[in-house]
C-alpha cells in the first residue's frame, strides 16, 4: 500500500523497473485452461504498445537463445522465456514533450472529488487544489486513471457529493486482493557457467532482456525432474516460507 505505490507525475511508473512479460502461444492454449481468444488473435495487438514503449514486438524464445548463442532446450519440465525492459519506464519522462505541448493541460496538486452528470453521463469533474480552492472542468469524456485505490476513492467520494450511477454497486471498494506468491521449487545449479550464460540479463535485438522460466505445457513441475540439457538445472522441492 505504501512502498509499492507513488503519487505524483509519472505515478508508480517512477518506481517501476520497466520489465514486461508478454504471453507466449502456450499461455492461451493450456489444456483445461483455455482462453476465449487465440494467440494469433492477440498477437497483432502487441505491435502498437511495443512501438509506443520502445521495445521489440514479441519474438519466439528460440530467437533470443540464438542471439545469446545458446542451443534451444529440448528437454526438461521448464522452458525459458524472455522479458523485455523498457528504455524509459517513467511515463512522465517518456512523454515529457507531449505533456508540455499546447493541446494538453497537466494540473498538479489538485484532487477530483466529484463529477458533473447529464443524466448518467459524466460531463465534467469537480476538483480542489491543495490550498482548498474549488474548480470545475468540463469535458466530453471523463476518464478515471487514478489506479486501483485512487479510482475507488474518487468514486466513493463522488457518491457522498450527490447521486452517482454506481450508487447501488456493492462491489466498489470491496474484495481487494493482493498478489499471491509462494515458493514452488528451487534449482540446484550443476554448471555455473552455463547457468549464468542463460539467466543473466542480456542485450539482444537492441533491448535488455531477462530470462525467466515457465512450466512447459502439458508437464507438471514435479520434484526431482532433471533438466538434462545445456543449463543442467535440477528442480527440487521448495519449502514454503
Amino acid at each position: 500500500m505504501t512502498l509499492g505505490r507513488a503519487v505524483g507525475l509519472g505515478g508508480t511508473s517512477t518506481l517501476w523497473g520497466g520489465q514486461l512479460a508478454m504471453f507466449v502461444p502456450d499461455d492461451l492454449a493450456r489444456e483445461g485452461h483455455e482462453w476465449p481468444l487465440t494467440y494469433d488473435e492477440l498477437r497483432p495487438w502487441y505491435d502498437t504498445p511495443c512501438d509506443v514503449l520502445g521495445i521489440p514486438a514479441p519474438r519466439p524464445s528460440s530467437d533470443f537463445l540464438e542471439a545469446y548463442g545458446i542451443p534451444v532446450l529440448q528437454h526438461g519440465a521448464l522452458e525459458p522465456f524472455f522479458t523485455a525492459w523498457l528504455p524509459q519506464p517513467n511515463m512522465a519522462r517518456l512523454f515529457r514533450a507531449t505533456l508540455k505541448g499546447d493541446r494538453i493541460d497537466v494540473v498538479l496538486d489538485a484532487s477530483v472529488h466529484a463529477f458533473d452528470f447529464q443524466g448518467e453521463r459524466a460531463v465534467g469533474v469537480r476538483a480542489k487544489t491543495r490550498d482548498g480552492v474549488d474548480f470545475s472542468i468540463a469535458a466530453r469524456h471523463v476518464i478515471l486513471a487514478a489506479g486501483t485505490f485512487g479510482n475507488v476513492q474518487i468514486m466513493l467520494s463522488a457518491g457522498l457529493h450527490g447521486p452517482v450511477p454506481w450508487r447501488d454497486n456493492k462491489l466498489i471498494g470491496a474484495y481487494f486482493h493482493d498478489h499471491l506468491s509462494a515458493n514452488a521449487g528451487s534449482f540446484e545449479v550443476l554448471d555455473d557457467a552455463a547457468f549464468h550464460r542463460l539467466v543473466d540479463n542480456g542485450v539482444a535485438l537492441g533491448t535488455k532482456f531477462q530470462t525467466k522460466f515457465r512450466a512447459k505445457s502439458g508437464q507438471s513441475t514435479s520434484p526431482q525432474y532433471a533438466a538434462s540439457s545445456v543449463s543442467d538445472l535440477r528442480i527440487e522441492n521448495g519449502s514454503p516460507r
Binding site: L3, A6, L9, G10, G11, T12, L99, D109, R140
Partner: protein, 71 residues
C-alpha cells in the same frame, strides 16, 4: 503545459470544454493522454501529487528505492 492547481483554478472557468479530462497523471493516465493527444484531442490531466512522485507516506519515491521493491 504543466501548471500548479492554484494557478489553473483561477482560470479554469475560461478554459472551455476539453475533449477529455483524465483523472490521474500516473502510469495509465499519462500513457493514455499521450495517445489521445496524438489523435488530435485536447486533454486536461488532473494529478493529485506534485511534479516529482512521492510514496503515499510522503517520502520521495527515489529515497526508498531498493527497499522492498521489485522490478
Amino acid at each position: 503545459m504543466i501548471v500548479p492547481g492554484s494557478e489553473f483554478a483561477a482560470s479554469a472557468a475560461s478554459r472551455g470544454q476539453y475533449d477529455a479530462v483524465v483523472i490521474g497523471g500516473g502510469t495509465v493516465g499519462i500513457l493514455l493522454t499521450a495517445r489521445l493527444v496524438q489523435h488530435g484531442l485536447r486533454v486536461c490531466v488532473i494529478e493529485a501529487g506534485e511534479a516529482v512522485a512521492r510514496h503515499p507516506t510522503g517520502v520521495f519515491a527515489a529515497q526508498s528505492r531498493g527497499k522492498n521493491m521489485r522490478a
